[in-house]
């Protein structure tokens, strides 16, 4: 089976490996190299690096508007296109090129969390379950019928980064199942997504990272988990701007002003929220490394 793979970030790499395991991946499409880091110049995407490692030809069009880019795809004679976190909109004329159309691996249980940041938004909302869907792509944002899906439980302390890694592995499994069936000449039955339960997972924005103490502690604790390792929740605690790596919500009744430091000890920095208390366990000072609250207090004897 001739597969064209389209994907960009780390999340997509296990899927590329799964696709390449038993099939011919004739080409990889990925976003153009982007400037990254301080003065490191143009950096290839993780998917591009994996493709080059495997000796697969890489295409990096800016978009699919031109006839030239469509002709190039058509010339590859793909049986199937697998799209995983590619980051480009594919017009209907592109979706129609491969014999079996385009499959997309999406990191949520659709129709919940359609869109760009399903993993972090699920944690931020306090969801206890997540999963991956293998979807037959249609025009529109993650609206296509679901071919196969797998779910998993979100751990109570699980961060966006940890869930990302697990879903990335699960996505590769679901894709492998789908491709295995296709090899057996069986097409998974497309199940239309239900009309109810649609939510949108908007892209993460650095501006959201600032914690607002006038919210409940549980909301803030979920945000800290969701935003680790990127963009990382930030807050001003006792006059210092800190990035928060790990925090838990305490169900404690207090009469304190939201944002005030109630206690500072080995277990963490306890900050008053609108309801409850956010206990900050692991944090990072400007220009420093992640440290425990206990280590932080060694440098801030004024807080003890």
């Amino acid at each position: 089976m001739r597969i064209v793979f389209a994907g960009t970030p780390d999340f997509a790499v296990p899927c590329l490996r799964a696709a390449a395991q038993r099939n011919e991946v004739v080409a990889v499409y990925t976003q153009p190299d982007r400037p990254a880091g301080r003065g490191r110049g143009l950096t290839p995407s993780p998917v591009k690096r994996e493709a080059l490692l495997r000796g697969i030809e890489v295409f990096q069009p800016e978009n699919f508007k031109s006839a030239v880019s469509k002709d190039a795809l058509r010339a590859l004679k793909p049986d199937l296109m697998v799209v995983v976190a590619y980051g480009l909109i594919l017009p209907q004329s592109v979706l129609d090129i491969p014999t079996y159309g385009c499959w997309n691996v999406h990191a949520s249980l659709l129709p919940r969390w359609r869109g760009a940041a399903p993993i972090q938004r699920a944690i931020e909302a306090g969801d206890r379950e997540s999963g991956v869907c293998l979807m037959q792509m249609e025009k529109g944002l993650d609206t296509g019928p679901v071919l196969l899906s797998q779910s998993l439980q979100i751990g109570e302390q699980e961060t966006g980064g940890q869930l990302h890694d697990r879903l990335s592995a699960l996505g590769a499994q679901v894709l492998a199942d789908g491709l295995g069936l296709l090899r057996a000449d069986i097409r998974p039955l497309p199940q239309p997504q239900p009309e109810e339960g649609v939510t949108y997972a908007h892209k993460l924005d650095k501006a959201e990272a600032r914690l607002d103490w006038s919210r409940p502690a549980t909301v803030l604790a979920n945000k800290v988990r969701a935003f680790n390792p990127w963009p990382m929740a930030e807050a001003v605690v006792a006059g210092e701007r800190l990035r928060l790596h790990g925090a838990v919500a305490l169900d404690e009744v207090h009469g304190a002003e939201p944002g005030s430091l109630l206690r500072a000890g080995r277990d963490g920095l306890d900050v008053a929220c609108a309801t409850g208390v956010l206990r900050i366990r692991v944090l990072q000072r400007d220009g420093g490394k992640a440290i425990t609250a206990a280590d932080y207090l060694n440098g801030r004897p004024d807080l003890r």
Binding site: L148, S151, Q153, E158, D177, R183, D185, R187, P188, L189
Partner: protein, 440 residues
């Protein structure tokens, strides 16, 4: 062209379900390797589409045997007797077709019921039909995806690795990669990789490991170039790191105290043919199998093999101290569940107590055989702190002339005086390493 909805029930439909059930029964209940079983089963299936279906079903079941196990427990009042292990495997085949594979239910059920007859289980076809219809009606319990882990062990892992427990269970359910160890006495790793490439087998290298290759797709050893002549062995990356961690001095006198099946001893000799190696194992039969492995690798005459209980030094030790001692201790094997899922079926909390006692007995007895200035490497394929971090800490506390030597991050995260690799990290098995030097 694909069949748009369902495949007609043909003999081949039932035959491929039966084949999948046989493979899974061997793997899940008789400790056989999936690779070996598929290598036997697939060539007997004529149609490549049926071969692909057998593979897809096997992979789907082996990723989540726990789910199917808990479904059975919920629906069958008494656990199926051992003699019906093949029936159980066939039920799993049926379940997996419904979820995760999402095949059209009527076709999947009919072919699986027919497969019961193919397997000579006509009298159980009705039971298969009833259970699969129920699964179709009620759906398989999502429930706890790791229900096949004994409760005490899940709780212990939660206590030992609270932040990683989920990832450990998930990694333990994943299909393990196939790692090879290239025999550097015959050729370099890169040369062997080129040989594989010529044979149409692609492999990746790992910078941490000078002799290791990871195959993109697991292959039967029979198709590996030069396997019969000892060019290469199958060994997980974590086990290959043992030689790096022990790092015996050139031509040193080395003891491998629990040596069977012999992979680590062989690796040590491949790295340094001049080592004076003594390999012990308590199980004489396993030692015999080890001999044949060494014959393949042409190392047969290079070491002394003794069947003995390593802790009973009076019985086997000639009193000449060792520069380096490898104690790859008997353990719970909780780091290699992805390779040996059956590990979970036989583990009780009381086993752990006995294992911990055996490990400390071995540590104390073997310490006497280490030369002053020499090293002992304590290694396990466990992820439990009682067998690893706590075991080593206790040993160091009661052994004044033992000093822990730091290992670098190639060996995983710091865990007490040693390093712990958790299963799945960098595609490796779970493993623990602690290197201790005897004050000279």
């Amino acid at each position: 062209m694909p069949r748009p909805d369902s495949s007609p029930i043909t003999n081949s439909g039932a035959a491929s379900r039966a084949a999948a059930a046989r493979v899974l029964d061997a793997v899940l209940h008789h400790g056989r390797s999936l690779k070996a079983e598929l290598a036997l089963a697939l060539p007997r299936i004529a149609d490549p589409r049926d071969r692909a279906l057998v593979e897809a079903i096997c992979f789907a079941v082996l990723r989540q045997p726990a789910r199917f196990e808990s479904a059975l427990l919920a629906w069958v009042p008494r656990p199926l007797p051992k003699r019906d292990s093949e029936l159980k495997a066939l039920l799993f085949v049926g379940f997996a077709q419904l979820d995760p594979l999402g095949l059209p239910a009527h076709a999947a059920v009919a072919a699986t019921v027919e497969a019961a007859r193919t397997l000579g289980r006509r009298h159980q076809a009705g039971l298969v039909n009833a259970l699969l219809r129920r699964a179709q009606r009620e759906g398989l319990p999502a429930g706890e995806p790791h229900a096949h882990w004994p409760k005490w062990l899940r709780e212990q892992i939660n206590r030992d690795w609270p932040d990683d427990a989920m990832a450990i269970l998930d990694a333990s359910a994943a299909e393990p990669p196939m790692w090879l160890r290239v025999n550097r006495r015959q050729q370099s790793r890169d040369d062997y990789r080129a040989r594989l490439h010529e044979a149409g087998i692609e492999a990746q290298v790992d910078d941490r490991l000078p002799d290791a290759l990871r195959l993109d797709t697991p292959a039967a050893v029979a198709v590996l170039p030069g396997f019969a002549d000892g060019a290469v062995s199958v060994q997980d990356a974590s086990a290959q790191l043992v030689a790096e961690a022990l790092a015996p001095p050139p031509a040193g006198r080395v003891l491998d105290a629990c040596a069977a099946p012999g992979g680590k001893a062989a690796h040590l000799l491949e790295r340094d043919a001049a080592l004076r190696l003594v390999a012990l194992d308590i199980d004489a039969q396993r030692l015999d199998r080890m001999r044949s492995g060494f014959t393949r690798l042409r190392l047969g005459d290079r070491m002394q093999l003794l069947a003995a209980d390593a802790a009973d030094t009076a019985a086997w030790w000639d009193g000449v101290a060792f520069d380096a001692v490898l104690l790859d201790a008997p353990c719970s094997a909780t780091g290699i569940v992805r390779r040996q899922p059956d590990v979970l079926q036989h583990r009780r909390a009381s086993d752990l107590t006995a294992l911990v006692a055996t490990q400390s007995r071995l540590l104390d007895a073997l310490w006497a055989t280490v030369a002053p200035g020499g090293v002992l490497l304590y290694a396990t394929c466990s992820i439990l702190k009682a067998e690893n971090e706590a075991q080593v800490d206790a040993f160091l506390a009661r052994t004044p002339d033992a000093v822990a030597e730091p290992l670098d991050e190639r060996f995983g995260r710091v865990s007490g005086a040693g390093r712990q690799r958790l299963p799945g990290e960098l595609d490796c098995d779970g493993f623990f390493y602690a290197r201790m030097r005897r004050k000279g």
